[in-house]
Symmetry: C2
């Protein structure tokens, strides 16, 4: 059954100091931001021209993203390495300065607390570039409880992302050709206005690009303006993580597609877990069994038919009358001519091709489990 509902306007967002502005907010406003979400108590742009227009542009040109909401948890001191390994089931023994690691972080029950990127600055110094939860509180609590010799703080560091197929060309103009030699999930130190910044090849899209860890809020707008100016003939535009593109690419969103109720293995992140060797990880005991036997539900790409409403709540996935999973992100894809979606499905129904029904606030729609994400 397809119940048609009118597309309603999104609600308004009241401003306050608590939903913090970023060092790039002036640039974001000048570029005509149309909507935000709040992420780590800070404003995250979600739409500039339109979600669809932003999507096509991201895949063809280059965009500047204010992702200052990726706040950093800095861990520094003699016990920094020990503390980092306590936080994640990924084995960090091989991690070197210059590397970024995607790090599922779990509590003592193996539940996901965040899925940040860890940046190893030195043997005794890391940044944890976080998704939407106050991971700082957990890290501080563990450090204090175990009396570790570390400082744990939120430094004045705000990532600015350059994403899209023309990202290399743009970055070379501002930081020099050497920036193009940075490998995926590696970083280097690059100079801007006499200060050295961490520039990593990473970002929350599948279109390629960089994240610049802007240390010092005063540098925010000068760098934003320099990149905008340098990219004019590359059709540069302000952008933001794009819902359609990220779902097509299977990029999970903490708080949307996974929560503390999920293990990394359920989220398809088992490949980042080395539970046998991640000695010291507080969730190790809880994850040992699931790492051997595998989870009983897991993230899957889901295609959905019809005119969907916005996915503003958990949508149950059903086989007949039985709930066998849920959809937590969905968007109409222009390139793939279907609604692309991210779901969590029980093993009894997770095989590719399984036909299911998804229940939304606008009625039920047909859905099918896909063999993989779209890009």
């Amino acid at each position: 059954m397809n119940v048609q509902t009118p597309v309603s306007m999104p609600p308004l967002l009241s401003v306050s100091r608590r939903a913090r502005r970023t060092p790039f907010s002036d640039g974001v406003e000048a570029a005509g931001v149309k909507a935000y979400t709040v992420y780590n108590h800070m404003l995250l742009p979600t739409v500039f021209r339109s979600v669809v227009e932003d999507y096509h542009h991201l895949k063809s040109a280059v965009q500047l993203w204010d992702v200052a909401v990726e706040r950093q948890v800095e861990v520094r001191g003699p016990d920094a390495g020990r503390l980092m390994q306590m936080l994640t089931p990924r084995d960090l023994r091989g991690m070197l300065p210059g590397q970024c690691f995607y790090l599922p972080m779990v509590d003592e029950t193996g539940g996901m607390l965040n899925d940040p990127v860890g940046v190893k600055l030195a043997e005794d110094r890391y940044w944890i570039s976080i998704a939407d939860s106050d991971l700082l509180f957990w890290v501080k609590g563990i450090a204090y409880g175990f009396r570790l010799d570390v400082l744990v703080e939120e430094p004045d560091v705000s990532p600015l992302a350059v994403q899209g197929p023309k990202a290399d060309a743009l970055m070379a103009r501002v930081f020099g050709d050497a920036v193009q030699e940075i490998k995926f999930f590696r970083y280097g130190w690059f100079e801007f206005q006499g200060r050295y910044l961490v520039v990593a090849r990473s970002g929350y899209s599948k279109q390629g690009g960089f994240e610049i860890y802007v240390e010092g809020s005063d540098l925010g707008m000068p760098l934003w303006n320099a990149l905008m100016e340098a990219g004019r003939d590359l059709d540069i535009h302000a952008g933001c993580p794009n819902l359609i593109e990220r779902v097509e690419g299977g990029l999970l969103s903490y708080g949307n597609d996974m929560t503390r109720a999920n293990t990394p293995h359920e989220c398809g992140l088992g490949k980042f877990c080395s539970v046998q060797t991640a000695i010291g990880c507080v969730g190790r005991d809880a994850l040992l069994r699931v790492s051997q036997e595998g989870p009983i539900r897991q993230i899957r790409a889901i295609a959905i038919d019809g005119d969907l409403p916005g996915c503003d709540r958990v949508w149950p996935l059903k086989a007949g009358d039985t709930v066998v999973g849920q959809v937590t992100s969905a968007a109409k894809s222009p390139d793939f001519d279907t609604n692309v979606a991210i779901g969590m499905v029980r093993m009894t129904h997770w095989d590719a091709g399984t036909a299911l029904t998804v229940e939304t606030q606008a009625g039920a729609f047909g859905a099918e489990v896909q063999p993989k994400f779209w890009i």
Copy 2:
């Protein structure tokens, strides 16, 4: 200098599952909510008719507030009392089941992590009704680090507030006359549809009223509808924490008026701290000195002249060219014919009557330190 700027439309808020709906969202939408903020990863209504209309109505009638964003951290087990005292510099030895305590919570440096209301359910069971930060992560970290025998969880409990001068009349109709005998910051167990709920005399306004801790999301809309129905002739309306009213009353907002950078004493919360006797509080050592000598900056009521923009960022307070404090919340008050504001001011300039200048995104305005808040 007063630079006049046009009042711009607030931005749009993009919806997603991450900004969680509440058990009362259907009622909030039916009542015509106009704007939201995001608070504890959940939707918090901010405007129904208009901020000014909501303000007048709150002071004269009765409102139903969806404050499900006040998530609970449940602490349960033999070490629950010990853990609670580790979290706060308030002396909890005298706290009894049936009582609610306003509890500044601090880290090991004495910095504010949250300012929740603690609800003592039993000797070994508490709810912590939190402001906007993931306090759960800190509580879990401390509990794990100290190997305490406690369970720490976010239960399915969503507060619904009934606020305004007619709150007692309304509540008696739904819960019986005995509800009117609840004393301030005490609670009782009251029955609704065969289930017993914690009903406390508390709330984030100065107009009086109750907070109902709705245990079980399924009970949300039945209770919302029952209260709306019972209050029809009392001019009941959906409402929300009102910016003007809370600033008039000096009700602080975590993330706006205080952050981890502040001690409770700076926030004027010294009266809730008994640092000498709060043995076990992790911030005790850090707070001992400030508790004896007093802070060097403190929260003050500030009156401001002119047509202010929205306070969406920290506004520096200046004496001549010297920054002597900051304003973090402000609103035009119809009842007091001035802009009411909350600021943090250095002791050199915090005396009542001190004339200062406040710098906003729309220029500078005259300001004066007040002897106390307005109500």
